[in-house]
Symmetry: C2
């Protein structure tokens, strides 16, 4: 991590090191020492450029969540109601790659023990819930519909691992198709 | 870990140490050293009584999965078809406690990097899939129904964490209720 590097590039390298470790071994394995090792830097250099481990976690997870949310919003575009929901869920069920799924599960697993991760996950969930219920309200769907939708999307994330290889997009979309029929759409 | 202890108790203490570590920090944190530390034993004592880290993981996960499968089979009893499926899913959606959910997610997250865990998880999934499709076959349900059921159950496991506190049983059962309606039951 040379000093001459651009601050944004440095922040990016730190965030990538954190997420790489989390994807491979979980957030408990993210230590200043391990981040430094990945970057070929000293632990004091890492500490110098950050406010400590919590800051590293927060910045890395926020970058990831911001990217995810931006991708979801691009997928939705100007659509609302039923069509907005369909675009959001199709994105959620098929767009994130295996690395993205692994990172998400690592985040969910670690959040109870790491308040910094809990806060970032809560912020994302607040956005997700507001978006889903907003789309559903326009269609006069009942409250359990939002729960079912969230559960199915979460379940598709796990299904990326359960069988060793991720399900093909067509198989995921077939499950979503059943969900649409449940909603009477 | 005194020598005089009963071998079954010793195996149980080792398996509990492994699962405790996995629940708190993930399977990557399970090392001979950490298991020894938890038991107040030397690493050589742990090595002496086991065939190494993979054996420790296998025994601990197999104990957990055997218990889970036995609990599910008790919940199902002699029921078949629709009623068997209903009892299995109600058990899966509501019975495992937070520790059980955390251990399961840790297992799913770690399986791609740990062939020993992958093999144990595959064995459980084979049983789960055979049980679900057996019940569904009796009701002439389509192939996507089995996928939807697995996805909803997996999703309910994640929902135990996503919001910080597990959903109450009534909320989980409401989601299952929607699933029954989807299946036309």
């Amino acid at each position: 991590m040379p000093r001459s590097v651009d601050p944004a590039d440095r922040a990016d390298a730190l965030a990538t090191a954190v997420t790489d470790i989390a994807v491979e071994s979980g957030f408990a394995a993210v230590t200043i020492r391990e981040v430094a090792r990945r970057l070929g830097a000293s632990t004091s250099a890492v500490t110098h450029y950050t406010g400590g481990r919590d800051d590293l976690l927060r910045a890395a997870v926020r970058r990831e969540i911001d990217r995810r949310r931006a991708a979801a919003e691009r997928a939705i575009g100007p659509a609302t109601g039923r069509e907005g929901l369909r675009l959001l869920l199709d994105w959620a069920a098929t767009a994130p790659d295996e690395r993205g799924h692994r990172l998400w599960l690592a985040l969910v697993v670690a959040a109870p023990a790491e308040p910094v991760l809990r806060a970032e996950l809560d912020a994302f969930n607040t956005w997700w819930d507001a978006t889903v219920t907003g789309f559903l309200a326009a269609e006069h769907a009942d409250a359990t519909a939002a729960d079912l939708i969230t559960v199915v999307i979460d379940g598709l994330v796990i299904s990326a691992f359960d069988d060793g290889t991720p399900w093909p997009a067509a198989r995921r979309r077939a499950v979503l198709g059943t969900l649409w029929r449940t909603l009477g759409w």
